[in-house]
Amino acid sequence: MANNYTPSEKKILDKMFLYSHLVFISFSMVKMEANGFTITMSPMLEELYKDDPEAMKEAVARHQQFFNTHAVPFSFIAGLAAAMEKQHKEGKVDGATIENIKAALMGPTAGMFDSLFFNCLRVIAAGIAIGLCRNGNFLGVIIFLLLYGFTQSIAKYLLFHAGYNLGTSFIDQVFNSGLIQVLTKCAGILGLMMVGAMTANMVNIPLNLVVNTTGAEGGAVNVGEIINSVFPGLLGVVALFVMVALIKKGWKPSQLILLIFAIALVGALIHIF
């Protein structure tokens, strides 16, 4: 990481990094993370445009635009925008370019970091932590915080400075090379494996259906136990893929939940569960 910042520059960047944790401050559906982004940019804007109120107004308006991405690349884009605002003051970049780069980076970075942090790292951290906490071990909580919490701040720090130093040419290179799609796919492999493992361990359909096939005493058979001895956790996997199919058909999670409550209550009433 380049350390050839001037003292005043370093102070501004440190402040911006701290502010870049305010992603969800005053979040609204209208502009999403715009307020957080404006606050993150404020140390740099105040420094650059302290003698030019008109330019300041324009710059603030730029960063009050709708903005939405994952919390980690939020810092990366803020670093990049800070570098571009500096170039804007020198007349090398126009304001519309800054807005366009921000808008162009939102979607791809959100997708990529959701798959890395939300669908992969969080699922792994939770999987490990749940195993420990089920036995009442507080260590699970600490591991979850270290794996899923602190890592975000570390990634934010590295990416914020990377964004500030790399500039926009690098972005074109990375986004056109196809590496992003590959990274997303490989995070998906790990995420799917963890989800598969946790489905086997946790999705529990407490089938308690007893069928008396022979009619004789002691001929009663517990269907759930038989299925589990042949194919452990089959019911959970089948239920999961039925729900995946329903989601692909456009079902909302709340509809699935209502369906489950209905099935569970009716099932309990007729003694299946």
Binding site: L22, F24, I25, S26, M29, K31, N35, T38, S42, V60, A61, Q64, A71, N119, A126, G127, A129, I130, G131, C133, G136, F138, G140, V141, L145, G149, S177, V182, L183, K185, C186, G188, I189, L190, M193, M194, V195, A197, M198, T199, A200, M202, V203, I205, P206, P232, G233, G236, V237, V244, S254, I257, I260, F261, I263, A264, L265, V266, A268, F273
Partner: protein, 268 residues
């Protein structure tokens, strides 16, 4: 009850404001982190830790769909843990209740969002252009108010709702609690189904079953599966990357060859 409610409401506020607003990790408000601390202030941390694990599984994927949240994981967790510990009921009852309660409380959250947060967007834009310092201060205050609202709802729910709730549940026929218990086991599946449908891709879908077999048949624990999974993912990444590098090299070489040919034609 009022004293307990006050403690819970303070823990909720500190976690929700500190994490979502000041850290943006969305990590301390997860059930697995907040449940032990609710347990701690109510004098039964063990139950908090164990319920946190179950609730984390239930809410694993629920909050994953952007914008539309079916049930607020944090509010559900706080109420479910408080109900279990304060009433001394079995954990399964609290878990069965988490979802119905969470769904009701979530609607309050989306109500404050559309009634208060959304109309303010124009105000913020105007203020930011006029006075950046005031903009910052007011953002911090406003975000605190937005977390105080659900904190107060928790306070009222725990202080005055829990006794009524347990009376109501006692009057229900027994199959209802059996049904709700069965539902909470299956509810975990909803979260995993949402996650699966987000990640699923024909080319890598088979790895779901690899993870499944490792857990169900080989009885490996989660850390072991994570390490094996990481090994596969890293190997796949470098093999894909080699393909891309090769493609780019070929492209570059091809472009050069074309240029060279064009140059020769010009020369002759």
């Amino acid at each position: 009850m009022v004293g307990a409610a006050l403690k819970i409401c303070i823990v909720y506020f500190l976690f929700a404001y500190g994490d979502e607003i000041l850290l943006s990790w969305q990590c301390l408000t997860r059930p697995i982190v907040i449940a032990p601390f609710i347990g701690l202030v109510l004098g039964d941390m063990g139950t908090g830790i164990k319920m946190g694990a179950e609730l984390e599984a239930i809410f694993m994927g629920i909050s994953a769909i952007g914008g539309v949240i079916a049930a607020d994981a944090t509010l559900s967790t706080v109420i479910a843990v408080a109900y279990t510990i304060l009433n001394g009921t079995p954990m399964t009852d609290g878990l069965a209740l988490a979802f119905p309660i969470g769904t009701v409380l979530t609607s309050i959250n989306s109500l404050t969002m559309s009634l208060i947060s959304n109309p303010l967007a124009a105000y913020w834009e105007d203020l930011a252009a006029r006075d950046l310092k005031a903009f910052k201060v007011q953002n911090f205050l406003f975000a605190a108010v937005m977390k105080i609202i659900p904190s107060l709802i928790i306070f009222v729910a725990v202080a005055f709702g829990i006794e009524g709730l347990s009376k109501l549940l006692a009057s229900l026929p027994p199959f209802v609690m059996t049904g709700l218990g069965a539902a909470s086991g299956m509810m975990i599946g909803v979260g995993f189904a949402i996650l699966t449908s987000m990640i699923w891709d024909g080319e890598i879908g088979i790895f779901f079953f690899v993870g499944y077999v490792m857990a169900a048949y080989m009885h490996l624990d989660t850390v072991a599966i994570a390490i094996l999974g990481a090994a596969i993912a890293i190997t796949m990444f470098f093999s894909y990357k080699r393909n891309i590098d090769l493609k780019n090299e070929l492209l570059a070489a091809g472009v050069n060859a074309n240029n060279a040919a064009a140059g020769e034609e010009d020369f002759f």
